[in-house]
Every structure is written in structure tokens, then in C-alpha cells.
Symmetry: C2
Subunit: 298 residues, 2 copies
């Protein structure tokens, strides 16, 4: 059992990570601007990481840090200058963590760090070229460069979970899965692109569980967090039609595909499976069923 | 003529850059914690870039930014956590610059961004692998990753001058050239390693002139700032012995070579020469003569 500090604990991934951390027996401290009600075993701390040095870290003295907080506003996060603020806040956080005697930190990276023009079958952490084209991907990758060198210098372990495509409860309503599901549940046509692009989808609970496992491992450096399963976006949409019982409302191809969309973005999950020893528990059909069921219940 | 803001203007490179900027006809504003006396044509602003948002940028509204400020304490800068503070300060500075309508920024990078284990003849900006092993190199490179993407997004030009090895007036006294020169001038033996490593040396006035030229060009991205001339460190020491008139006091090989010292670190200067259109004016012998003469006069 260790004392864990989680940032972004009210976010999309963060709200799913508290359970696995508690189940692993950790003393869980969560930082958020507006702490959530919920599991009484979690100790919440109200703090804005964007505002100056995070004194809260020195008060908690965590052994482990799981840093998930970032600017994540749908549609804006790719290019927002807020990405710079989060690089700054993350560096302050890491300095505070080292200063408080922290032992191991895991941070959230992104598949958008990789060079998406390569069209490789699967991105391997050690060999796939890294060349982010978005400000979000560049900010994450730049942070990783600095953070990894700082961890080595300051004497704490650092791992970097590169998240691929995720879906599930809590997802921004404008995004593909909830947008299609809500149309279908409302009995309205769901217009999408033809969806020929291949992606790597993982249910957000599994993403969170993977991060919890990575935190409890001694693996360092970048680790892809994905399913390793190539799936066409059209197949995700078809599955949504099936589990919602309204395949007739699907309108694949009604919207034009965005220029420059990469054909294929799939994770190599060798490190995650073999080194961290973690595998997904929620298949795509089951995960989409769960997502649709929760939207139906609301 | 443009309004230029220079940071680190009292530093090793910075104090040599004001002249070429003035000669190019610019309106020069300099930021430093402790402004220097000197050329009355330079407008000095007292500000600590490490402390919060740099309001001074909004007051000056510079078209051009030459950002040279960084932590540079001899022997400590390679591994100091201050490198993180400077990443943060630099990102704040760039946001302020973009917010004030800035058009073009040039920042100081380092040859320590390159993968020094490759042993290539000369590091080329486009093809040489980048893999910093020091915190200093990683901080600079991480900053470049974020800054380049931010500039593209925010709509200003950004160039990144990767400084190789520099020497000249104002150099920290513990470093090779002044340390050897001072011993010789004091009539004491100058103990050095055997100095078989090959490096790329450029006089600090030329480094500063190269940055001024880069600022006035429209070249973007990384540009090596070096001489392109491979020189053994032993040859630098021998030349110092000659120009100081005391080759008899040299003790090459008296000190052990540090473990893991790279054999060869030399810049490809194609971009600097052909794209920026700049070439060094001070040869190594002349530059060392100048350095020794100034130390003698003190």
C-alpha cells in the first residue's frame, strides 16, 4: 500500500481510476479544482494546479503520483494555448513531487505524439517515429522529454502512458460514440463519415485500470495504453446501431471525411501486456453496450 | 527596422548581441533582472522572467523576440532543476509575445539536443537524431517541441539556434579557454586532459552575430550555430599556449579524460551559411588572441 496522489480525478479517465487504486489497497488522495462527492475512502483536496506552486503536494507527501489533469475541452484541446499552461503546471507538479520525496510518477501522454504520416501497422514505443503535428501532441511530447530527464536526475521513476482512442461513460457528448448513441436513442438518424479509418479503441474503465496497473509496476518510459485491436470506425458505428437496436438510423458516409485524416492509428501493446502484465477486460461490443445502456438510463 | 526584445541581455551571448542588433537598425529593448549600464540606444527593462507573467512584453509590444535567457551556472546547468523553471518561463514569455502581436521569435537551443552517441561527422538539423541525455539538453529540446507547435498555431515565426561550443570575453572563468589562459598569464602550469575530442568552436561575438542574422532572416526551425570547423581540444590548448607566449606551461594529458565524453561534436552549418547567409568573421587563432589579450588587460 502506498500513498497516491491523483490529479484530474474528476476528469474522463480520472473518475474511473479511483476504484482500481482503492482496490489495489492504496491510500488515495485526489486533487481537483472542484472536489467530487463520492467514495469516502478518497481524500479530496481542492487546488488549481494552474495557479502557482502546488503546496498540496508537500502536505500530502505522496509516494506515487498519477497525473491525468490537462485541458480537455472537446474540439479545442488540439490547438488551445492552454496546452502550454498545462506543460508549465505539470513541471511545477513534478518539482513539488520530487521535493516531497516522491518515488514514482505516471503521466498521461497521447498517441498524437507519434508520426501519424507513417501509416505503420502498430505504433511501437521504442521504434515508431515521434512527430506530433498538433499543439496538444507537441505539448505532451515536449513535457515527456523534459519530465523523463528530470525524473532521472531527481531520482524518481517515471512512466508515460500514451492513450489511444477511448470511449465510455463521461465522454464529451459531441464525440463520436455518445453523439451516435444519443441520436439512435432519440430515434433520429445518426450521420457519420464513411468511417474507413482504422483506430484502436479502449473503454475508459480499461484505460483507467491500465494506468493503475502501470502505476503499480516498475516499468519506465513510454507505454501505449490501447487495446492493440484494429477496428474501423464504421465497425464501431455499426456495433452502436446493433446494441442500440436501431441500425436503420445509421447514415454512414453522410458526412465528408476530414482532409488529412490518418488511415490507421493502432497501438502496439507488447509493453502493456508483457512488461506491465495488463490486458483489457472490456471488449468493444460489451463496452458499447454499457455506454448505450447508461445513456438510456439518464 | 523593427522593435526587438532581447532576454538574457546581460548574459554571455546576450551582451554581445546588442551591438549587431543596433547596427541592423533595430529599436532594441533588453530585459534583465539587473539591467546593465551601457549603450544609451538600448532601452533596458528590469524584470525577472522566472516570476509570473512577463507584463513587460505587453508594454513593449515587440515585433521580434530574441530569447537567450536561461540558467547557465557553470557545472550546474547540465542537471539543475532550474532548467524546468526556464521551460516554464519561456512558455509564459512566448504566450505574452503572441498576445502582444509578435511576428518572429528566435530562441537559443543547444547541440546537447543531438544524440551524441552517434558519432556523426557533423550534426545536420534535418537528419541527425535528437536524443538529449542531460536535463539541460532535454529541457531545451522539450521547449523547442512545444514552442514550434505553439508558434505555428499562434501565427508567429520561430527559429531555434542550436549553439555548439563557444568561447570569448565574459566566459565563466572555470571553463576551458579562460582557465588555461589565466594559468598561462599567471605563469603557472595549465593542466588539461589529452584533449583528443573534436569540437566545434565559435567566438561568442560570432555566436551573437549569427543570432542577430537569424533574427533578421525568415528561416524557421532549428539552425545550428557553429563554425562547421572540427578542432581537437588539444589544438585549442596549443593555440592558447602560442598566443599567450607560454607553450612551455601546457600540461596536456595531466588530467584524466571524463568517462563517456563524446569523440566528436561538430555542426553542419549548411543552413546557417546558405539559408541564413551568415559566416563567421573571427577565426579560432584570432578569437583566442582576443580572449587572451582581454584577460591580460584586466
Amino acid at each position: 500500500m502506498s500513498r497516491v496522489l491523483v490529479t484530474g480525478a474528476t476528469g474522463f479517465v480520472g473518475r474511473h481510476v479511483l476504484d482500481p487504486l482503492l482496490r489495489a489497497g492504496h491510500e488515495v488522495h485526489a486533487v481537483a479544482r472542484r472536489p467530487a462527492d463520492g467514495d469516502p475512502r478518497v481524500t479530496w483536496h481542492a487546488a488549481d494546479l494552474l495557479e502557482g506552486d502546488p503546496d498540496v503536494v508537500g502536505e500530502i507527501e505522496p509516494e506515487l503520483l498519477l497525473h491525468l489533469a490537462w485541458y480537455a475541452e472537446h474540439g479545442r484541446f488540439w490547438s488551445s494555448p492552454q496546452n502550454l499552461n498545462w506543460v508549465e503546471a505539470s513541471l511545477r507538479l513534478l518539482r513539488a513531487f520530487a521535493g516531497a520525496g516522491g518515488r514514482r510518477a505516471v503521466l498521461a501522454g497521447t498517441c498524437a505524439e507519434y508520426d501519424w504520416s507513417t501509416g505503420v501497422d502498430a505504433y511501437d514505443e521504442a521504434s515508431a517515429p515521434v512527430r506530433p503535428v498538433t499543439l496538444y501532441g507537441a505539448a505532451k511530447h515536449g513535457l515527456h522529454t523534459v519530465a523523463a530527464a528530470y525524473a532521472a536526475q531527481a531520482g524518481f521513476e517515471l512512466a508515460w502512458g500514451r492513450i489511444f482512442f477511448l470511449y465510455g461513460p463521461g465522454e464529451a457528448p459531441e464525440r463520436l460514440v455518445p453523439a451516435v448513441a444519443r441520436s439512435l436513442l432519440a430515434g433520429e438518424p445518426a450521420e457519420t463519415t464513411s468511417g474507413t479509418q482504422v483506430r484502436d479503441f479502449l473503454h475508459v474503465s480499461d484505460v483507467a485500470a491500465a494506468f493503475a496497473a502501470l502505476l503499480d509496476s516498475d516499468v519506465r518510459g513510454p507505454v501505449n495504453v490501447g487495446s492493440g485491436e484494429p477496428v474501423r470506425i464504421a465497425d464501431v458505428v455499426q456495433l452502436l446501431g446493433e446494441v442500440a437496436g436501431r441500425p436503420d438510423l445509421l447514415r454512414l458516409g453522410a458526412l465528408p471525411t476530414r482532409e488529412g485524416e490518418p488511415e490507421r492509428i493502432v497501438a502496439s501493446v507488447r509493453r502493456l501486456r508483457e512488461e506491465v502484465g495488463w490486458a483489457p477486460r472490456i471488449g468493444l461490443r460489451e463496452g458499447l453496450q454499457d455506454t448505450v445502456a447508461r445513456l438510456r438510463d439518464r
